[in-house]
Symmetry: C2
Subunit: 354 residues, 2 copies
């Protein structure tokens, strides 16, 4: 049985090392996912020669030429106005037109979310899309959302994030019955601000087919207490970056310890292969690929500074989402929601909150 | 020149390993700070025999007997009502009566803050006390506040936290001109919600004698980008616990890597002394002691699960705060604030937000 073809639109000019890392990442992904086809969007004169170094890749690649790019410091509103011919925008357009099944960019996150919302629109039943990522834990890996698309969220948003996170964990991460936790400053039911308590009650009492654990705290994120961590975009962004920073501090101090003495250096040499497994386990490139969930289409944001290996993992995440039809799974789960399980919270307008 | 005596009231019954770890911690602190004297508050029949095992400690110790304790799961409001004769309350009372210069407890944080506010009162010019802690960074150590006393903060609260953090860094941490950052999801001036932007403008423009860096992000916490991280209690609590959890994940995976193969085990033995420095650098017990700033009195919360070494560091933090007269430094800096530098934000009532 051959897997159906998966067609990916790539913003070939997004990211610090584009287009080189984008092309090299696509070639790595092609080897892991033979069903993948690539539409490179950007400066064809620069991209095509890079692609043609990999005959296997060239055979499954097409191009959409443009010289416009969205810069990293562009505000989303400015990118929307001035970036209509940018590589990012044309790559998103390809999904909307049906020329691709998903889009990947390592460019400006805010611009990507704003353009994706404008072009692909928010999925039915979702008030606000969210950004999600997987990360390593004591028990394996979990997913957290939102990571910054929505700085303030009401209970209704949080419940929808729980549904999207559940669908993502089930389909892409292969977790049979994902447990879901709401990030708070304590695990008792009465803790935290009102939106959290309302979301807690809705997730606890409703008819959703979710395995709701309750409130979790910051240290539960890496403990792997739950498979899905639900939070507002402000808290999620701070938590994710704090974890990244702490991991960097650890790595740096550990490197210094090994390098600082003869015993350290010799010990490192002996333990090297054992430590390689450790390094691999926490390699942020393995977890590269932030998913923009809740849109009519698959959109994945790669870290801007990642290399080919990192980019290939963002492509892998997109391919898994397409192959497992995450969007449909989210829609199915939303049916359980009924009209509105959160009576105390009036629905908010679908504002662009990037 | 002899240092003036520093008198500490100890909630001897607070914490998972009390009163043993409290007594042993006091004995360690006494060896480092010969000017310290201790008032043990709690079950004298249990405490006194422990103290008398250390003749040096017994010579500088007195007792206040009570058998009441505040449990870890008690709500602050219940602790206020029912805990009037608890070891925690009587230890705080000792500061209010002038029998001690500061109080240390490893008990229930919410109850400690609520009782301290009730008994000692909030300091003049401060709307809400905050919880602060030091933590290791790439550049040394920094301090962050609030860590959970105030789940929602307005711009005025954040500016006051900046002043308190500055005074703490200057006096206790010995940083000559501490730099201050406001925790946000981006470093551009226009990022984040309104209270943050108002606080940013006030800290940028005002007449305060502060070295304001601007907005910082989650990964700046451990980078040591600034000496003082200012944030609301919800975000600060999540960030601190996320960092702790990430550190635990790292330590655990590293231990597994060393233990998992012969090379790892041998390498570990060779690198052991080099790694001891690393372990020491990130030892959470070294950073034990959360300061309740903005009260009329020195109050330090020790981690409930720490051992004697950890508890002695919480005592050390209290001693440094007393010896350096942090409370007076905060009051001096508040003078610069004038009537109200934040015209857009009406002062909030002094509500108990624990």
């Amino acid at each position: 049985m051959t897997r159906p073809v998966v067609r990916l639109a790539l913003d070939a000019m997004g990211g610090d090392k584009a287009p080189e890392s984008v092309v090299a990442g696509a070639d790595l992904a092609r080897q892991r996912f033979p069903a993948a086809q690539f539409l490179f969007v950007g400066d064809e004169a620069r991209i095509r020669p890079l692609v043609e170094r990999h005959p296997g890749l060239a055979a499954v690649s097409t191009y959409r030429h443009t010289t416009d790019v969205v810069t990293n410091d562009a505000k989303p509103s400015a990118a929307l106005r001035a970036g209509r011919q940018s590589s990012m925008r044309l790559a998103i357009n390809a999904v909307q037109e049906g020329a691709a099944d998903g889009v990947i960019s390592a460019g400006n996150t805010g611009a990507l979310m704003a353009m994706a919302k404008l072009v692909l629109k928010t999925a039915p039943g979702i008030d606000r899309p969210a950004i999600a990522t997987a990360f390593p834990t004591m028990r394996g890996s979990s997913v957290m959302l939102d990571l910054g698309a929505n700085l303030e969220c009401d209970a209704r948003n949080l419940v929808q994030f729980a549904i999207m996170g559940d669908a993502f964990a089930r389909t892409v991460m292969g977790t049979a019955k994902p447990t879901i936790g709401l990030l708070n400053v304590g695990s008792e039911d009465q803790k935290g601000h009102e939106e959290l308590r309302t979301a807690h009650a809705a997730l606890r009492d409703n008819k959703l087919d979710l395995s709701f654990h309750g409130f979790v705290e910051g240290d539960d994120i890496t403990k792997g207490t739950v498979d899905v961590i639900v939070t507002d975009g402000f808290t999620g962004n701070v938590a994710l970056k704090t974890a990244e920073g702490t991991a960097q501090l650890f790595s740096s101090l550990l490197r210094q310890a090994f390098a600082g003495s003869l015993g350290g250096k010799l010990g490192y040499l002996l333990a090297k292969s054992a430590l390689n497994g450790f390094r691999k386990r926490i390699d942020p490139r393995r977890y590269n690929g932030a998913m923009l969930l809740g849109l009519n289409g698959i959109v994945v944001k790669s870290h801007g500074g990642t290399d080919a290996f990192g980019f290939s993992n963002a492509l892998g995440a997109a391919i898994e989402m397409i192959a497992n039809d995450v969007a449909t799974k989210i829609q199915e789960e939303l049916q359980h929601l009924g009209s509105d399980p959160i009576d105390t919270t009036p629905p908010k307008p679908r504002t662009a909150a990037v």
